[in-house]
């Protein structure tokens, strides 16, 4: 299971364009033991992902088309698991939940219950922890792979373009889940979104509402965009919540786990010391409520703030009528 080397993410760091800056070399990043991380992984399991898997896993000797696909998916999931192992091992108190989604539904495939030994302070012996820790990782591997397989099986393979993958719904779920946990316990909550589909104009308001909510509760949204186009919605999600938006280059033969471990593993505090890739540009353009197209200049209805690409006589959202002579 752990055939992928845990440590090579350290060595390959600068390959990904990250160099550890000077301060962090001098004073090693202090582990804030009080604040453990609660990570929610959102994984897009729509056909869009399967179509593009070969871009992110090293190519293997071709046997048959079916086999490659199954292998590619497994390799992809194993790379994700490598990252999750690193995350869980770095701090005993770290917690994890994995939510998968496609065009039809959302499912929690793995929910971490935390370590029992931690809640019992008398049990300080570390060897107990080691055993339980190992158990936890094995449980993660088996449960995750099993549930993902059954999730994929239960939905038709053909993609339904018009619906789009349920990004807004999965973000809403993740936020409800995290909110409930951070109310009672002190966690630094984050969302890591592995998204492989294009933006759906219909979901614009839902995603934006989720972003504002995450911002208010200071929940980071990290984005790893596996789609071939840039996603304006997810760029804004990362930009507004202080997370990282990154789109792995397909040409490089670097395994995904390297990206995941080096970019998304550091906590909010540790990121201050690292050179995290910044976006060259954040697309703040609006969507025309009528056509769903992107607009950089347009008109907004003064009553409901709906945006339109062209001048019009009435608003089709709120029904307000505009006088002919109104100028900008």
């Amino acid at each position: 299971m752990s055939s992928l080397c845990f440590w090579n993410w350290e060595m390959k760091m600068d390959l990904v364009g990250i160099s550890v800056s000077k301060e962090s070399q001098q004073n090693t990043v202090t582990q804030d033991s009080d604040k453990s991380n609660l990570l929610c992984v959102l994984l897009d399991l729509s056909p869009n992902l399967f179509d593009r898997l070969d871009k992110f896993v090293p190519s293997q000797s071709a046997k048959s088309v079916d086999l490659i696909e199954a292998d590619a998916l497994e390799t992809f999931l194993l790379q994700l698991i490598t990252f999750l192992h690193v995350f869980l091992l770095s701090n005993f108190a770290n917690r994890l939940v994995i939510i998968v989604y496609n065009e039809y539904n959302i499912h929690v495939v793995y929910e971490d219950k935390g370590l029992n030994t931690l809640s019992d302070p008398s049990n300080s012996a570390s060897f107990l922890l080691t055993e339980e820790r190992q158990e936890r990782l094995t449980r993660l591997d088996s449960e995750f792979l099993k549930n993902v397989a059954s999730f994929i099986e239960s939905y038709p393979y053909n993609s339904c373009e018009e619906n789009g993958t349920l990004l807004s719904a999965s973000l809403s779920f993740a936020l409800c889940y995290l909110h409930r946990r951070i109310l009672s316990e002190r966690y630094e909550a984050r969302i890591l979104c592995l998204h492989a589909s294009s933006d759906v104009p219909k979901q614009y308001i839902g995603v934006m509402n989720s972003i504002f909510c995450a911002q208010r509760w200071s929940i980071l949204i990290d984005v790893c965009n596996l789609h071939e186009e840039e996603s304006s919605l997810l760029q804004q999600a990362a930009h507004l919540t202080g997370g990282i938006y990154f789109k792995p280059k397909q040409s490089e033969a670097i395994p995904l786990s390297n990206y995941l471990c080096s970019l998304y593993f550091p906590s909010r505090d540790a990121r201050k010391y690292l050179k995290i890739p910044v976006l060259n540009s954040v697309d703040c353009s609006a969507l025309c409520f009528e056509s769903g197209e992107k607009i950089h200049m347009g008109y907004i209805c003064s009553v409901c703030l709906a945006t339109f690409g062209r001048k019009r006589l009435s608003c089709n959202i709120c029904g307000a009528e505009f006088a002919e002579n109104d100028k900008s």
Binding site: Y104, N105, H107, A169, S172, L175, C176, Y299, L305, S328
Partner: protein, 398 residues
């Protein structure tokens, strides 16, 4: 709000209260961490109130003049440390929530002191700039008479030139029990009424007839606050855009630009505050650079906003439907229901759990998620998965 739900601190005037021992309301949970239940309770009360006025047309582009009375009577110490200090600190909190909820709205600050009205900041939408002047407003001290008429006149001149689609409002925090005016204040009030400017007043001292009259004539509201937490609660109500009064504003299509945030190797000068920055917003029409938006482009006059700033107001237009509360017995009878909350996956019954059902997607939520969905998230997770696609696969996970 039912009377029995009022926290005790709200029912008494601050001078009638016993000594407040806020630390005694703290509760520890079994691990010794402090539970903070007060904010949770408060948001519940607030939501109940908000729900009564869903689906109304609101003026989302607001222009507000905040008038603060810092005259002699702001030195009164019936609230601690003084009326003026409390009023300034609450105003600062109000500023932040105002711009958070209404990012493309504008605001100006006016103070009343020594018989005159002084404009501290002009119409703008930069919360930092306004809060800076409010923070420093006490440096000159609180002295002199208070003139309501002068304040209203300044507000009139500030609101006179704004576009007709904006909702024009005045919010007054009044500490005094008198007004020392140069002319007939009724004429000024008439002018405000004619200009369709809504005036809301919060009095820190006893109720005054002229303030009540002002609010009534201009379709505003007048409250007398009892203590600091009451003042904050009253101010909170003015953060949410109020319902439109018929004919108060015109509808219009407003031309706006949505600039792109670009990162440059060489820093660019922001045309507004003349600061060098590496990340700037670029005007889509004339390519001027700005460090912060919203702003009106200095060169081409285009109003630059980001689409996310507009999107902050959309939840007023598409609010989440109110959930119905389910009786516990009824819930238990219908055994086919899942035994955990649809959104947070917390198992029922946990402490203080109630059962709520969404009228559109029929999913069951816990009380915590009910508040969170309506107060913070503004999405129903169940409705986001469209019902026709919901295959009966809410299988439980282990």
């Amino acid at each position: 709000m039912d009377d029995d739900e009022k926290p005790e601190s709200l029912t008494l005037y601050s001078w009638e209260q016993d000594i407040v021992r806020s630390w005694e309301t703290l509760e520890e949970d079994e691990t010794g961490k402090i539970k903070d239940l007060s904010s949770f309770e408060r948001s519940r009360v607030k939501r109940k109130r908000k729900n009564t006025q869903q689906n109304v047309r609101r003026g989302l582009i607001r222009f507000l003049v905040l008038i603060l009375d810092l005259s002699r009577e702001a030195k009164e110490t019936d609230v601690k440390p003084s009326r003026g200090e409390v009023c300034l600190s609450c105003a600062q909190k109000f500023l932040y929530s105002y711009f958070n909820e209404n990012p493309i709205s504008q605001l100006a600050v006016v103070v009343l002191r020594d018989g005159v009205a002084e404009k501290l900041s002009s119409m703008g939408s930069n919360p930092r700039q306004h809060s800076e002047v409010v923070k420093n407003a006490n440096q000159k001290g609180f002295y002199g008479n208070c003139s309501l008429q002068n304040g209203l006149d300044v507000a009139l001149s500030l609101l006179h030139s704004i576009p007709s689609y904006g909702s024009r409002e005045v919010l007054i925090l009044y500490n005094s029990i008198s007004s020392c005016d140069p002319g007939d204040i009724r004429q000024t009030i008439e002018k405000l009424e004619k200009e369709r400017i809504r005036c809301n007043v919060i009095g820190m001292a006893a109720e005054l007839y002229i303030l009540k009259y002002l609010a009534a004539r201009t379709h505003g509201s007048y409250f007398v606050c009892m203590n600091e937490s009451h003042l904050l609660e009253l101010l909170e109500d003015f953060v949410v855009p109020s319902a439109l009064i018929e004919n108060n504003t015109k509808t219009a299509l407003v031309r706006m630009g949505f600039p792109t945030l670009k990162a440059y190797k060489e820093p660019k000068v922001c045309l507004n505050d003349k600061v060098l920055r590496n990340q700037v917003f670029v005007c889509p029409r004339c390519e001027c650079c700005y460090g912060e938006i919203p702003i009106e482009c200095v060169l081409c006059g285009l109003i630059l906003v980001s689409s996310s700033q507009l999107a902050r107001s959309y939840h007023h237009l598409f609010p989440v439907a109110n959930f119905h509360e389910l009786e516990e017995d009824k819930y238990k009878q219908s055994h086919f229901q899942p035994n955990y909350c649809f959104a947070c996956k917390g198992t029922f019954p946990f402490e203080g759990s109630e059962y709520f059902v969404c009228p559109n997607c029929q999913n069951i939520f816990c009380g915590i998620c009910d508040i969170f969905i309506h107060d913070g998230l503004n999405n129903c997770p169940g409705c986001e998965i469209r019902p026709e696609n919901r295959i009966a696969s809410q299988t439980d996970f282990s």
